[in-house]
Amino acid sequence: MSKTPEPYCWPHKHLLGLQDLSAEDIRFVLQTAVGFLEVSTRSVKKVPALRGKVVANLFMEDSTRTRSSFTLAASRLSADVIDLSGKGSSISKGETLRDTGRNIEAMGIDAIVCRHPLSGAAVQLSRAVNCSVVNAGDGQHEHPTQGLLDIFTIARQLGRTDFDLTDITVAIVGDITHSRVARSNLYGLLKLGATVVLVGPPTLLPRAFADLGCELSYSLDDVLDRVDVLNMLRIQFERLTSQAFPSVREYATSFGLTTKRLARAKPDVVVMHPGPINRGIELDSQVADGPNSVILSQVSHGLAVRMAVLYLVSGAKHQADLL
């Protein structure tokens, strides 16, 4: 653990999005996660960092992996976890988000992990409560822990232990417009110095994204040979309210990562997917399970990153407090 003259202090009570973090903040969470990665390799996979604290999972939208990842992360930090899951927006429950948040908080909760189908829900919740709020995905806005774990995976895979991604080009491919994962990745990657190319059909890639500081391309083939990372997004059929492309067959032919396409990419290109995969649409099975794929590392890194996030928002100031 390095000693600097003026030790960095984690300044955030909530984690609502990567848009709000500085490059230094992002590097600090990721460095913290490096420490937690080691915990999972021990025979006793638990540290007492959050003993006596309570984390509430408030999941208003279906989720299996993100919720279990947060639950496990909190348990490994020795926090108590309660699970409050519902479906839909607060309007369908007849209760406002503010009331939901304040009722949970009244049970003596230290942090709420919130997944919600509508954009901005975590931001609004953070205004209503006094405890910490961690955004586990809100509508089409942000999914900051997914962004962090993707960046963590890219950096480790490419040997950037200082989490500086200068000269690295990342393509994010697929349904950009509906994707909170794409947005969180985009903000984080740009802050760490990477070049980002968003790839998809115009119906899923509005031009407004160009204003956020990235390149846009409607052809996966055009960008294949110059990217270091291919982050293949899931086609979220449940979010497509109107026809976004003529057919699944046409989409897969134009934007699917096939073995043939992979052969034209850089030999050590990193292939990622936030899961769950539509095999045969975004990714051919051979690619998903092949040597370039880091999809399972993403999952295990997710645990370490979420431990780091829960640890930091719960009041830890310095990495040195750890372990």
């Binding site: 848009q19 927006s89 607060s90 309007i91 406002t96 988000l97 503010r98 009331d99 919600h116 509508l118 954009s119 901005g120 829900a121 931001v123 609004q124 809100d138 509508g139 089409q140 806005h141 942000e142 417009t177 909170r180 947005r183 509005p206 407004a208 994204f209 204003d211 956020l212």
Partner: protein, 457 residues
């Protein structure tokens, strides 16, 4: 009957091209005369000392939502009327998107009955264009016009079908009333904020300018090419592109003013940037746009493309506005803040002067809605008068509103210009400064929703 003389104010009566320091004499429910009065006249009358203030025809808002019948938890005709007179409005036109919608003559009469019971402001109903505002079949437009509907609108949504709209234009033209269109293509619009980089970043669905412009252009073409010549009014213009379309259409008509448009205060003062914190008080329909649009709207007001200043007073309960941004309802209240906000948007920016601004809040909306004896201080017109202190600095406090709702994004905003008194039909319905009213032998009743309403008869 004793008369009420408003003395020594700066009388601005745009309909009569008047801007002069003088007195206004009201006799019962009518204006008797504008001009100097003698001591003898003043001795036998109630006096309102308006020195230092502007005296103008009562303000008229052609676009409010009073939520009655059906959504009385948001606003009623009583609380809405109280908000109107507190904001200087003597007449308002309430939109038909109630539950049920105002789509037959019985419901039009109901609005008049309720307004008479309240007896604060004049409330004129706007009838629905289509049955249940569903956009499919014409409502009973003729019967509603006969019952007193002053205009027709499906506000909240456009008449989306071109086929239905062309029928509506032709049929409404027969009545001589105006069709007020909420211009939003339902497939292109429907988003929760302006489309663009900020919506993209926030992950919120966009409502692009073109959804407004395409309906305006369609309706202009229908009206012109089909030679219908209906009176057509664009509600709450939000896009600079719409201003340009309207400017061209009005030019093509050689100044025949049967195509008109209204602005609302929030579209002149706020931009889409306000949405970045997901504060639902900045969620409106049409949405807040950009600085560029604000400039284009101001230019449109300056050059006479936009001739009416409305509020789109749209009350919602606190619990509705506490929902997620995408789930919360559109709209904000505006009656009690419109005057100073228009001062801020138009006078402080040197866009227009007081007489021009007041013309757009009195004479022009009166013409729009066919309110013949309103919007001017001509002898024998209705004795609706608003008294304004143009210098008064104050801070908007939503907790002091007479409206039932509090959904206002201007809380704590510093403004200049305040309504001091509102006189409707010769009676003082709102008076912020009781000392200026002399010879009140009737006691001032306890403070009601409409603060301080001494009755003079």
């Amino acid at each position: 009957m004793q008369s009420l003389i408003i003395t020594g104010g700066r009388v601005i009566d745009p309909a009569n091209d008047l801007d002069i320091k003088t007195d206004v004499v009201l006799d019962g429910s009518k204006v008797r005369h504008v001009g100097k009065t003698t001591a003898a006249q003043r001795d036998s009358a109630y006096l309102y000392d308006a020195s230092g203030h502007i005296v103008c025809p009562g303000l008229i808002d052609p676009h409010v939502h009073f939520r009655e019948p059906g959504q009385e938890e948001k606003e009623t005709i009583a609380t809405g009327s109280a908000a109107a007179v507190a904001g200087g409005f003597t007449s308002v036109c309430c939109m038909p998107n109630t539950e049920p919608a105002l789509d037959d003559d019985g419901r039009i009469e109901f609005i008049y009955t309720q307004a008479q019971r309240v007896d604060l402001a004049n409330v004129f109903p706007v009838g629905a264009i289509t049955k249940q505002r569903a956009g499919e079949e014409l409502a009973e437009i003729g019967l509603m016009a006969a019952a007193g509907a002053v205009a027709f609108s499906d506000d909240g949504q456009a008449v989306a079908s071109a086929g239905v709209c062309v029928k509506a234009l032709a049929y409404i033209a027969m009545t001589g009333k105006v069709l007020m269109q909420h211009c939003e293509d339902p497939e292109l619009g429907g988003g929760v904020m302006n489309a663009g980089a900020i919506a993209t970043r926030l992950g919120l669905s966009g409502w692009p300018r073109v959804a407004e412009e395409i309906i305006i252009q369609r309706d202009i073409l229908l009206n012109l090419r089909q030679n219908i010549g209906a009176r057509y009014h664009v509600q709450h213009v939000s896009s600079g592109g719409s201003v340009e379309l309207l400017r061209r259409a009005r030019f093509d008509l050689f100044g025949q003013a049967h195509i008109t448009a209204e602005a609302s205060p929030h579209h002149l003062l706020l931009t889409e940037k306000s949405c970045i914190d997901y504060d639902t008080n900045f969620k409106m329909n049409p949405p807040l746009r950009t600085k560029r649009d604000i400039e284009d709207l101001r230019t449109g007001i300056q050059d006479g493309t936009i001739t009416v200043l409305a509020t789109d007073h749209a009350p919602h309960t606190q619990e509705e506005k506490e929902l997620e941004f995408a789930a919360a309802p559109y709209g904000i209240i505006g009656l009690e803040t419109a005057l100073p906000l228009y001062v801020q948007a138009l006078i402080e920016t040197d866009t227009v002067d007081w007489p021009s601004m007041l013309a757009m809040m009195t004479m022009n909306p009166a013409k729009l809605c066919g309110l013949e004896n309103k919007g001017n201080l001509t002898t024998k017109s209705d004795a609706d008068v608003t008294i304004i202190d143009p210098q008064q600095e104050w801070v908007i406090d939503t907790n002091a509103f007479a409206s039932k709702s509090r959904n206002c994004p201007f809380h704590n905003r510093k403004v200049i210009g305040q309504v001091i008194a509102t006189i409707v039909g010769g009676k003082v319905k709102f008076n912020r400064d009781p000392e200026r009213l002399s010879q009140t032998d009737t006691p001032i009743p306890p403070q009601t929703a409409a603060q301080l309403t001494p009755t003079i008869s």
